[in-house]
């Protein structure tokens, strides 16, 4: 089981069978569907993955979210406030027009300003001005030192100055404006039904193996597995953990697994003297025990992470002791998952004055993360065993997240003890630290998803220092230290890292990606 997983440390080999330009069609069953072909309309995983096929980017993230040259061949800070990008020469768009700095400049204008965009790319472009120096040199300027420039730039797909920049979302969806410089060309888009792409034979990089790719959204997990077994699709994303054992036993299916950048964790109410879903066992109000670090620590010790991984996740997850799995930038080498110790947890509870326990409700979504409702239930069981009377309440994400984030009066988080997940889109530790651990501060954009409102000025200072530090080595150390401090405080309780599984027919396999993208260019022949 474990030896079949492709971990971060494993070296992925894509180059194996490239080059041979044969006419072969690939059909992919997608667990979640892109909502548009317009690459700047909706900043959402499935959309960004689809855009990766059609549109080029200045910097590409590889399967481990490390940065690689894309339409830019090099990038570096030339002073505190300026990053210089050298562009690749000789690249053409699908309509034959050449790629130049003008395309970058106009893309930078368009990306944050798409009308009706539900989730805008402004979060990556804001505060950065793009300046054309010559046809193949662009400067990005900021007002303060900004170390994550390359990460941010790597998220923005480049559209062409001639057709893309002035086009509407409808024009992209209809295909007339879907002109990029990526490895695949747009062929057709039927929402809910299929997206068809064809190989771009003039692609500047490695030639794609598949001449034609069809993506079919199949949301229901068992149906998706059935489609693979029936041979209707060659590859599916999001193989449910429940089916992995069975699929492993079959000769006609290959599974590809890799850890993701997503940690599943618990937020605890640390800002209310009386927390709404915590009470004494007889139901009377008590002072919020979650304020006490000993109680938080006891809860963490009472959670049997191995049992969650083995029984709930069927072995397809990794116990977590921090915010990102090992191998990511900013991860601490000194942290390991908190050991399961129910007796110690009970003792710690007693020390904090809760020898008889208390009553608490855990809230979680039931359609967002892999096996989310079952995890909440398992955690409920485990805490019951150290004397905390638990209730478990799960709900659809459409209701859950708004209540968990701002369901109570005054826009405060509604629940006391919540199960959530966090995927680090930037692929490094500042993303979860800034959003989950830093003190909630709307004016500065810190702690936006800090639903427990943990607050420690020392950690805040550390994070801010890291976000100012351009030197990678120093920043790496600062992020690791901030993580260690947060774990010491038990600001949140990480339980496990999700592992994603792709299933394919015999003869092909997928190079697993930490960003959970499903890309045709990652499908290789064995």
């Amino acid at each position: 089981m474990r030896n079949r997983m492709t971990f971060l440390s494993a070296v992925a080999i894509i180059a194996l069978s490239a080059g041979a330009a044969s006419a072969e069609k690939l059909t992919i069953g997608l667990a979640s569907e892109p909502t548009a072909i317009d690459p700047h309309f909706h900043n959402l995983g499935p959309n960004n993955a689809m855009a990766r096929h059609i549109f080029g980017r200045l910097i590409l993230q590889n399967e481990r979210q490390q940065l690689e040259p894309g339409l830019a061949v090099s990038w570096q800070p030339i002073d505190e406030l300026t990053w210089e990008f050298k562009l690749r020469e000789g690249v053409t768009f699908h309509d034959g027009s050449p790629f130049t700095a003008d395309d970058v400049i106009c893309t930078w204008e368009r990306a944050p300003n798409v009308p009706n965009s539900p989730s805008s790319f402004s979060i990556y472009t804001k505060g950065k001005t793009a300046v054309k120096i010559d046809d193949f040199t662009v400067h990005f300027k900021t007002e303060a030192p900004y170390p994550l420039m390359a990460n941010d730039v790597s998220t923005v797909p480049i559209v062409s100055d001639e057709v893309g920049c002035a086009a509407t979302t409808e024009a992209f969806n209809a295909g007339t404006a879907a002109i990029g410089s990526g490895p695949y060309k747009f062929v057709s888009y039927k929402p809910g039904e299929s997206i068809v792409l064809a190989r771009n034979d003039d692609y500047w990089g490695e030639k794609p193996i598949w001449s034609e790719v069809e993506f079919r959204p199949i949301k229901s997990a068992p149906t998706r597995v059935a489609a693979l077994l029936a041979g209707d699709v060659d590859l599916i994303s999001g193989v449910p953990t429940t089916d992995i054992t069975t699929l492993q036993g079959r000769d006609d299916v290959t599974l590809s697994q890799g850890v993701s950048n997503r940690v599943i964790y618990l937020h605890m109410d640390q800002f209310r003297e009386a927390s709404p879903f915590v009470s004494a066992k007889d139901g009377s109000a008590i002072k919020n025990p979650l304020m006490d670090v000993r109680v938080r620590k006891a809860i963490s010790m009472a959670i049997n992470r191995d049992a969650i991984v083995e029984r709930v996740m069927e072995g397809v997850a990794i116990p977590a002791g921090q915010l990102l799995p090992e191998g990511f930038f900013g991860v601490s080498k000194n942290l390991s998952p908190v050991a399961y110790d129910p007796a110690g947890a009970k003792a710690l509870l007693a020390e904090a004055g809760y020898a008889d326990g208390f009553k608490m409700t855990i809230h979680g979504p039931n359609d967002r993360y892999i096996n989310d409702a079952k995890i909440a239930e398992a955690i409920g069981q485990m805490l019951t065993r150290i004397g905390i009377d638990m209730s478990v309440e799960t709900m659809p994400r459409s209701v859950y997240f708004s209540r968990a984030s701002r369901g109570a009066e005054g826009g405060l988080p509604e629940f006391s003890f919540v199960l959530v997940g966090w995927g680090a889109g930037s692929g490094e530790a500042s993303s979860p630290l800034k959003s989950l651990i830093a003190t909630h501060d709307p004016d500065r954009g810190f702690g936006a998803s800090n639903r427990g409102r943990h607050s420690d000025p020392a950690i805040d200072a550390k994070i801010e220092e890291a976000l100012r530090t351009v030197d990678d080595e120093i920043r790496q150390i600062l992020l690791a230290e901030a993580t260690e401090m947060a774990m010491e405080n038990v600001a949140i309780i990480p339980t496990h890292f999700q592992v994603n599984t792709w299933g394919s027919r015999k003869g092909i396999s997928y190079v697993p990606r930490t960003d959970e993208y499903t890309l045709a260019i990652g499908v290789v022949k064995d």
């Binding site: 949301k219 149906t223 209540r403």
Partner: protein, 325 residues
Amino acid sequence: MTVFIIRRLMQAVFVVFLMSVIVFFGVNVIGNPIDMLVSPDADQQDIAEAIARLGLDRPIHEQYWRFLMGALEGDLGRSFIFGEPALKLILAHMPATLELAFASLVMALVIGIPLGLYAGLYPDGIASRTIMAGSILGFSLPTFWVGLMFIMVFAVMLGWLPSTGRGDTAVILGIETSLATRDGWSHILMPALNLALTNIALAIRLTRAGVREAMGQDYVKFARAKGLSTRRIVFVHVLKNIMIPIVTVIGLEFGALIAFSVITETIFAWPGMGKLLIDSIIQLDRPVVVAYLMVVVLLFVLINLIVDIVYSILDPRVRLQDQRS
């Protein structure tokens, strides 16, 4: 007559207006779509901007007023998620659903009536009892469970039919439909049958009850006495008499089929309106949910209106009764 039609029209307009209020306010109570839309990386300011961009910062009555004004011009709002007009999305998904509902309707009649006829003629035979027991299963089995069983057996184990999706389409009689291609037929067979199960059972029971009732009636007794063959009695006289109500009832189920296709479409990944609705509910794409429900309301109100008017032409008593009240 004109007075009657105007009266009914006004009622219909009132109903549509009332439903628009209920649906709009109802849908806008659930959750907060912004949490479903923005990237988790967004900070508080980004979220506030997105809320303003989608007009969610406006008071609800103002949002409704804007919706109503748009609706009068045929604009039912723009999908949060797809950024396209909601009505356009729904119309784009409609042919797939209509074709599925139509196929399943035909299936219900073609399978249900002969079985029901047989069960009605020989009520005590073993085959009839099996048919009736089967029809109870048809009512009782949860659609989603049967759908998955179909996929397991016919697609995975036997490999006869494709598991999901809609097949190739072609244009026939000016309509683009997957019923015009072989590939399309192989795709539609399982979902249509899955959707038809309840109606097959309904058709069996209606036919059986009709046949049993008709066989005891005077005109059949009379025909028998006249020496007509059973075959002739059944196929000419009985069938003619019971067909109209059965086809009417099953036909009226068409609307229900469109709604019921929600479940079937989800399981078979059929790209129709029902799947669009469920996806939109789950993702809180309010404009699409509202637009879908308004389209359905309009559809049903129109059907009712036409039925009423036709009835009133056929049966003047209905008109008189209405005037009296």
